[in-house]
């Protein structure tokens, strides 16, 4: 079982790597991206400290950026143990770290007071809004990752097949027979149950609150027809035949794409390779790849450092 899972992981990472290099050679030319990261001796005099919040996905991202920047010739240290986004932002502003990855939706709601309803569901829209806000505080936000970490409606593959579900809109006319489980806060939130009711016009047989640690247990037990999960859950990679997420076709869930935030002064001092390297290395971070990396750390117990290194190597950025 474990061996099969590992080889499945390797396969997906390999496929993703091919995909990203194909894209690169197809759409961009020269040094704009793709292929291995080139070390630039000029960068050796620049020291950077990459931060992240202290949960697996953030630590993986912190490592991916740190190792990529190191490959580009920078002197890199890490501080991947920041407690929350408020702490991370303070640490960045005070100059203790050079930059850290933040979710666009979190930045907009937590830092800039937007209501979840006003956060764009498309990555570019959310990024531009966040970038403009960050600029007012002399911070720079680099473009977003392909993957978005957000709420999603999850279900068993066999349930999806039985009811013919691919998108959330497909629930229309069927949701009245279905029980939805989600975190307790989901019930009232517009970026969760309240949004599903308001924008999709869905009514569920019932909504049951449950600890987020049980979001897959209730599906497996057959108690929940539908369960609110996260797009980057490792379970979605490790048991991809068992669980599926329904596409958010009405864009109710705010875009949780990751944007790397740094200080303007740091970005200027670090030179053009700083942004270039970060944008280049995150190109391969599609949703399936991020799920795989989360699975490696959370289920296979690799360290974030090992998972990040494996990603960089198999996607052809290093080695």
């Amino acid at each position: 079982m474990a061996v099969a899972m590992l080889s499945a992981l390797a396969l997906t990472l390999g496929v993703a790597a091919c995909g990203s290099s194909d894209d690169d050679t197809g759409t961009t030319a020269g040094n704009e991206g793709g292929g291995a990261i080139v070390s630039n001796p000029d960068n050796a005099k620049v020291s950077l400290k990459i931060g992240s919040k202290n949960f697996p996905e953030q630590e993986i991202l912190g490592e991916v950026y740190a190792q990529a920047l190191q490959a580009a010739g920078y002197k890199v240290k890490t501080d991947l143990n920041l407690g929350s986004e408020t702490v991370a932002l303070q640490t960045l502003k005070s100059g203790q770290i050079s930059g850290y990855p933040e979710y666009a939706s979190t930045a907009l709601t937590s830092f800039f007071g937007l209501e979840p309803e006003d956060v764009p569901a498309d990555a570019q829209g959310a990024y531009e809004k966040a970038k403009a806000e960050f600029e007012k505080e002399d911070l720079t936000a680099f473009p977003p990752t392909p993957f978005s970490s957000a709420n999603a409606v999850g279900t068993l593959t066999k349930t999806a097949e039985k009811y013919g579900l691919e998108t959330i809109s497909d629930l229309e006319g069927q949701s009245e027979k279905m029980t939805l489980y989600g975190s307790p806060e989901c019930r009232q939130r517009i970026d969760c149950l309240a949004g599903l009711e308001k924008y999709y016009g869905l009514k569920f047989k019932s909504f049951k609150p449950v600890d987020i640690g049980l979001r897959y247990t209730v599906l497996e037990k057959g108690q929940a027809d539908l369960s609110i999960v996260f797009t980057t859950d490792p379970q979605l990679a490790a048991e991809k035949d068992k669980f599926v997420i329904l596409e958010d076709d009405q864009e109710v869930f705010p875009a949780g794409n990751v944007i790397f935030v740094t200080k303007k002064s740091v970005a200027e001092k670090a030179g053009p390779d700083f942004e270039k390297t970060i944008v280049q290395v995150q190109e391969g971070l599609t949703l399936p790849v991020m799920q795989e990396l989360d699975a490696r750390v959370e289920l296979e117990k690799q360290t974030p450092k090992e998972a990040a290194a494996a990603y960089l190597e198999s996607a052809g950025y290093t080695g």
Binding site: S110, E185, I190, D211, T217, V218
Partner: protein
């Protein structure tokens, strides 16, 4: 990761919490829908009381017969005290999650998990209460021809009522306070206000805590009243 977002909210105040209890308030994550208010507080409080009474009933059903039997026989002291002590150290959330894989989440799961908190104090106090009844009184009762069951019912239980009730009251407080975690296992109780700071704000959290405390006090007073009713008149006079 939406869940990780902290919504900026003013610090809680007693006035704010009382307003939250009395009338629905604005929230900045609900898309304009108001939250809290008297109707919702009552609905969740009723759920919390129902769950508490269910768990208390199960605790009594399990702990009373065992405590009475062992206390009357005067054996199993070790058993009663070990259960009494170990039961207090059970991690509720872990227990709920463990049972979730077997019986799912919901009322049954929570009733059992909360009864695990209620059994130890009731069992320990019942055992001690019965066991410590003056041996001379018990011997006298046997001497005038009472059966063992009559000894228990007419002598031991009446004399042990204060100790047994201390256990029941302790169990009730533990259960009603812990029933706040029910929204993590499929049942909406006042804990919803306490767990979801980002929906209800700090005033909602404080409001939830206040109402839970009031519920605990109300249950405590009700049980004290019930205890008075169940104490025989002779004992009341002698202790007065």
């Amino acid at each position: 990761m939406i869940g990780a977002a902290l919504s900026p909210a003013p610090l809680a105040s007693i006035e704010g919490a009382i307003e939250f209890i009395l009338s629905p308030q604005n929230s900045n994550v609900t898309g304009g829908k108001k939250v809290g208010g008297f109707d919702q507080v009552v609905e969740l409080a009723v759920n919390q009381i129902e769950l508490t009474l269910l768990a208390l009933a199960l605790s009594l059903l399990v702990a009373l017969p065992i405590g009475l039997y062992l206390g009357h026989r005067g054996t199993g002291e070790l058993f009663a005290t070990v259960i009494g002590n170990a039961g207090r150290a059970v991690p509720e959330l872990a227990l709920i999650a463990f049972m979730a894989t077997a019986i799912g989440v919901g009322v049954l799961n929570l009733t059992i998990a909360l009864a695990v908190l209620g059994v130890p104090p009731i069992l320990a106090n019942t055992f001690v209460g019965i066991h410590q009844v003056d041996r001379a009184s018990v011997d006298a009762a046997r001497g005038i021809g009472m059966t063992e069951f009559e000894v228990l019912r007419k002598v031991e239980i009446p004399l042990a009522i204060p100790t047994i009730f201390a256990g029941i009251r302790g169990a009730t407080i533990a259960i009603v306070a812990t029933a706040t975690i029910a929204p993590l296992a499929g049942v909406l109780t006042l804990g919803d206000f306490i767990i979801n700071q980002n929906v209800y704000g700090d005033n909602g959290v404080l409001a939830g805590a206040i109402v839970v405390a009031l519920l605990a006090l109300a249950l405590e007073f009700s049980l004290a009243g019930l205890q008075r009713l169940l104490t025989s008149r002779g004992l009341k006079l002698s202790s007065a």
